[in-house]
C-alpha cells in the first residue's frame, strides 16, 4: 500500500475494511467470546514467534508459519480466538519490522481479522467441533473417530482463508499500484499458496490434538521438529536464491566476451518469466523456461569474438559458425543434473515457425512450445538492444517488426500474447 499520498479510493477501501473487521469481530464475540486461558496465551505467543520466523523466499513466496497456530486456536477456542491470535500476530510483526506505513499496517490487520473470521466461521458452519466451547461433547478424540467431519471443515476453511486474503490483496494492489486483478492473480502462484495453506491447516489440527492430549508441554516438544524443518527449508530457500544468482553471474561472465549481447540472457529470462506469468503457466514451467532462457546462448562461447562483434553482414561461413551455437550449448548444459527437458528448448530456440530456422529446420508445432515462447522473448530483446551492425530499434518499431514476424518467423499466437503483455505492462506503469 503506497503510503506517501494514498489515493482517496484506497484510503476509503482500507477504512471500510477496518470498520468491517471491527464489526465482524464484535459480532463473532457475541457468539464465541474469548475466555483468556494459559493455553490460548501460549498459542498466541508461539504464533507471534512463528510469524517472526516466517519462511521467506520459499518457492518464490513466503510461508506464514504462524497459520497452524491460528488454526489450532480456531479448533480449540473458536472463530473469535482465531481472529484475535491473527491480529496479535500482525500487530507484533508490524511493530517488530518497524514499518512506517500505517495504512499498510491497518490494511494487514483488517485483512488478517477478516480472513481468519471468514475461515473460522466456515469451519463452524460446516460442523467442525470447537473443543473449549463444548461443541464437541466427547472432545477432539471423538471427532477424530469421525475424521471427515473434522478434517473437511479445516481444509475448506483453509481454502476460504486463502480466497479472502488473495481477494483483498488483489483489490488493494489494483487501487494502490494499478495492477490489474488478472496480473495480480497470475503472480500469486495460487496452486502452491493453497497447497501450503492446506498442509499448514492439517499441521494446525495436529497442534490442537497435541494441546488436548499433552497440554502446552507437548506443544513445545512438537514444535522442535517443525522448527528444525523450517530451518532446513529456509537454508534451502537461501541456497536456491544464491544458486540463481550464481548462474546469473557465471552467464554474465561468459557473455562478457560479446560486448553487444552483454546482459542479453538475463533480460530474455526476465521477459520469459513475465511472459509465462502472463500466459498463466505453472511455477514449475516458468522456472524451467527461465533457466533455459538464462542458458540459451551459452553455445556462443564457441563462436569467435570477431564473428560475434562483426559490424557488417556475416559471410556464409561466419553465419554457419553462428548457427552452431544452439547445439554447442547442449554438452555444457547436459552436465547439469535434471536438465534433460531444457536441452530441446535450447536447441530449437532459433527454429522458425515456417521451417526456415536452424539448426534442424523443423516447423510449426514440431518446435517445442517453450522454444517458440523463448524465440519471441529472444527476438524482442535482440531488436531492442544495440548490435554491431545496427543500433537498437525503438519500442514501437520493434512491436511492428514482431507483428510482421508473427506466423512466419514466430508463433503467431505467442507473438500476439507477448504484445498483449507489453500493452498491459505499459498501461499499468502509466497508472
Amino acid at each position: 500500500v503506497e503510503e506517501s499520498r494514498p489515493h482517496p479510493a484506497l484510503f476509503a477501501f482500507v477504512s471500510v475494511l477496518a470498520a468491517g473487521a471491527v464489526l465482524a469481530l464484535a459480532a463473532s464475540w457475541s457468539v464465541f467470546p474469548v475466555d483468556p486461558s494459559p493455553t490460548l496465551l501460549v498459542l498466541a505467543v508461539l504464533a507471534v514467534l512463528a510469524e517472526l520466523a516466517t519462511l521467506t523466499g520459499f518457492r518464490g513466496g513466503d510461508v506464514a508459519t504462524s497459520y497452524p497456530l491460528t488454526v489450532a486456536a480456531m479448533v480449540l477456542f473458536g472463530p473469535t480466538a482465531a481472529a484475535v491470535v491473527g491480529i496479535l500476530v500482525v500487530v507484533a510483526a508490524e511493530l517488530w519490522r518497524r514499518d512506517p506505513a500505517r495504512l499498510k499496517g491497518v490494511f494487514n490487520t483488517a485483512q488478517s481479522a477478516l480472513a481468519d473470521l471468514a475461515a473460522a466461521w466456515t469451519y463452524v458452519l460446516l460442523g467442525g467441533p470447537v473443543v473449549a466451547a463444548g461443541r464437541s461433547s466427547s472432545g477432539l478424540q471423538a471427532a477424530f473417530d469421525h475424521w471427515p467431519q473434522f478434517l473437511l471443515p479445516v481444509l475448506v476453511a483453509s481454502v476460504v482463508a486463502v480466497g479472502v486474503n488473495v481477494a483483498l490483496v488483489v483489490v488493494v494492489l489494483w487501487l494502490s499500484r494499478g495492477v490489474s486483478p488478472a496480473t495480480s492473480l497470475r503472480g500469486f502462484g495460487l496452486g502452491v499458496f493453497t497447497a501450503i495453506h492446506l498442509t499448514l491447516g492439517l499441521v494446525g489440527v495436529a497442534v490442537a490434538l497435541i494441546v488436548v492430549t499433552s497440554n502446552w508441554i507437548g506443544l513445545l516438544v512438537f514444535a522442535f521438529p517443525l522448527v528444525t524443518a523450517r530451518q532446513i527449508l529456509q537454508n534451502s530457500a537461501r541456497l536456491q536464491h544464491e544458486y540463481a544468482n550464481t548462474v546469473r553471474v557465471l552467464v554474465r561472465s561468459i557473455e562478457a566476451k560479446d560486448e553487444y549481447t552483454r546482459g542479453h540472457s538475463e533480460r530474455v529470462a526476465d521477459y520469459a518469466v513475465r511472459f509465462c506469468s502472463h500466459l498463466g503457466l505453472s511455477d514449475a514451467q516458468t522456472e524451467r523456461i527461465q533457466f533455459a532462457a538464462m542458458l540459451h546462448d551459452l553455445g556462443k562461447m564457441g563462436v569467435r569474438a570477431e564473428v560475434l562483434n562483426k559490424p557488417a553482414r556475416l559471410s556464409d561461413a561466419e553465419y554457419a559458425e553462428m548457427q552452431r551455437h544452439p547445439a554447442e550449448a547442449l554438452p555444457i548444459v547436459a552436465k547439469i543434473p535434471r536438465t534433460e527437458d531444457l536441452l530441446p528448448i535450447i536447441r530449437h530456440h532459433h527454429e522458425r515457425i515456417d521451417g526456415c530456422g536452424y539448426p534442424d529446420g523443423i516447423e510449426g508445432d514440431r518446435i517445442p512450445y517453450a522454444s517458440r515462447l523463448l524465440a519471441v522473448c529472444d527476438t524482442y530483446d535482440a531488436m531492442t538492444s544495440s548490435r554491431p551492425y545496427r543500433p537498437a530499434l525503438s519500442r514501437a518499431k520493434a512491436v511492428d517488426e514482431l507483428e510482421s514476424a508473427a506466423g512466419t518467423q514466430l508463433d503467431g499466437e505467442l507473438a500476439a500474447a507477448f504484445l498483449d503483455m507489453l500493452d498491459d505492462e505499459s498501461g499499468e506503469s502509466q497508472q
Partner: protein
C-alpha cells in the same frame, strides 16, 4: 556406490525390519506387540528408504533414531535392542569405509545398552507396554539424550581415526544436533501421545518424520544442483576464457573433497569449492575491470566465497573464524600461502592460535591426498 547396491542395502534394511517384527511376535512370550509399537518399528524403515543418498550424509539411522528410542522406552527391552541392531547393522552395508563401519558397529553396540541404563535409572518399563506416565516421558528424553551423546562421541572417534580437526566439529555438530534433537523430541512426543491416540500418534510421528526427510532431501537437491551448475558453467568459462592448463576445476574439486574429508558440512565445502573457482577466475585478471565489475558483491554466496579469498589474501583483517578456517582449507588445497595465513592469523587472535601443529599437518596431508586424487 552403485544405485543397485544401494537398493539392495535398502532392501536389506526393510527385510531386517520385517524379520525383527516377526521375532517380536515369536519371542515375546507368544504375544503380539501392540500395533503402534509394531508400526513404529517398520514405518521408519519404509519411509526412509533411500535416505542415505537423498539427504547427503544423513543416513536412515539418523532419521530413525526417534523410533528406536520409542522402542527402547516402550519396554521392548533386550528384544528391541536386538532388533534395532539388526536393522542398523543391515544399513552398514551402505557404508564405504571398513574402518567407519567397524566404529559405527561399535557405536550401535554400545549406545543402546547405555541408553537402556539411562532408561532403567529413570524408571524401566514392562515389555511392549506404552504407559502414559511421567517416567515414560523422562525415560524417553534421558535415553534419547544419552543415545545421542554416545553416538556423537563414538562418531567423533570414528572420524578421528582418519583425521582429527577439532574446529570442524561445531559445524557438523550443529547439523547433526538439530536432526538428532528433533528425533528425541519425536520420541518424547510419541510417549506423550501414544496412550491416548494410539495409531493416530504413529501417523503424527510418521508425518513429522516425512517432513524432516523432505526438508533435508530438498536441501540436498538444491546443493547438488548448485554444485553441478557451477562446475558446468565454470568449465565452459575455463575452456574459453582462462589460461589453458590452469586446472581450475580439479583444484576446486580437491578443495571440496578436502573440506568434506576434514568434516566440514556440505554447505561449507561447496563454499570452498565455489571460492576456489572464483579465485581461479579472478586470479586470471578476468574481466579487465576486476572482480567487482562482473561479480555481484551483494550476492551472498559470492560475497562469502570472496571473503574466503580475501581472508586468504589478507589474513590480517578481521574475519569470521568460519571464513578463516575455510580459507585455510582452500589454500592448503592450493598448496600455497598456508604459511602466510598461519603467520598473519597468529598475529591476531584467531582460531589458528588454538590449532596444534599436528592438526595443521593433518589438514595439509588431507589436502595433498585429495589434490593428488583429482
Amino acid at each position: 556406490m552403485s544405485r543397485r547396491l544401494r537398493l539392495l542395502a535398502s532392501g536389506a534394511i526393510v527385510f531386517a525390519s520385517l524379520v525383527g517384527l516377526a521375532a517380536m511376535m515369536v519371542w515375546d512370550r507368544g504375544s503380539l506387540p501392540p500395533p503402534n509399537v509394531a508400526l513404529l518399528f517398520v514405518l521408519p524403515s519404509v519411509l526412509l528408504l533411500g535416505t542415505d543418498w537423498a539427504t547427503g550424509g544423513f543416513s536412515d539411522n539418523d532419521f530413525a533414531l526417534g523410533a528406536d528410542i520409542v522402542l527402547l522406552v516402550s519396554g521392548a527391552g533386550v528384544y528391541a535392542v536386538l532388533l534395532v541392531l539388526a536393522r542398523r547393522m543391515a544399513s552398514l552395508l551402505t557404508r564405504q569405509s571398513p574402518r567407519a563401519a567397524t566404529m559405527g558397529a561399535a557405536a550401535y553396540l554400545l549406545a543402546p545398552p547405555v541408553a537402556i541404563g539411562g532408561l532403567l535409572a529413570a524408571g524401566g518399563l514392562e515389555p511392549f507396554t506404552v504407559v502414559h506416565a511421567d517416567p515414560a516421558v523422562v525415560a524417553a528424553a534421558t535415553a534419547g539424550l544419552l543415545y545421542v551423546l554416545l553416538d556423537a562421541f563414538l562418531g567423533l572417534l570414528a572420524r578421528s581415526a582418519d583425521t582429527f580437526w577439532p574446529w570442524a566439529l561445531p559445524a557438523n555438530a550443529r547439523a547433526y544436533g538439530l536432526l538428532w534433537l528433533s528425533q528425541v523430541s519425536l520420541a518424547v512426543l510419541a510417549e506423550l501421545t501414544l496412550p491416548q491416540l494410539g495409531l493416530l500418534s504413529v501417523v503424527l510421528f510418521s508425518l513429522l518424520l516425512v517432513l524432516l526427510r523432505v526438508a533435508y532431501g530438498f536441501m540436498r537437491r538444491v546443493l547438488q544442483l548448485y554444485t553441478a551448475t557451477a562446475e558446468a558453467l565454470t568449465a565452459a568459462l575455463e575452456a574459453t576464457l582462462l589460461t589453458p592448463g590452469m586446472e581450475a576445476l580439479p583444484l576446486a574439486d580437491a578443495a571440496y573433497r578436502t573440506a568434506r574429508a576434514l568434516g566440514f558440512p556440505q554447505e561449507d565445502a561447496s563454499l570452498v569449492q565455489s571460492a576456489s573457482l572464483l579465485e581461479s577466475i579472478v586470479g586470471q585478471g578476468f574481466p579487465s575491470s576486476g572482480a567487482g565489475g562482473v561479480l555481484e558483491r551483494d550476492h551472498a554466496a559470492l560475497v562469502d566465497s570472496l571473503r574466503i579469498v580475501e581472508a586468504a589474501e589478507r589474513p590480517d583483517q578481521e574475519m569470521e573464524p568460519r571464513f578463516l578456517r575455510l580459507a585455510f582449507v582452500l589454500h592448503a588445497t592450493n598448496g600455497a600461502a598456508i604459511e602466510r595465513v598461519q603467520q598473519s592469523a597468529s598475529a591476531s587472535v584467531t582460531v589458528f592460535d588454538r590449532v596444534s601443529d599436528s592438526a595443521q599437518a593433518a589438514v595439509k596431508s588431507t589436502a595433498l591426498n585429495c589434490a593428488s586424487e583429482s
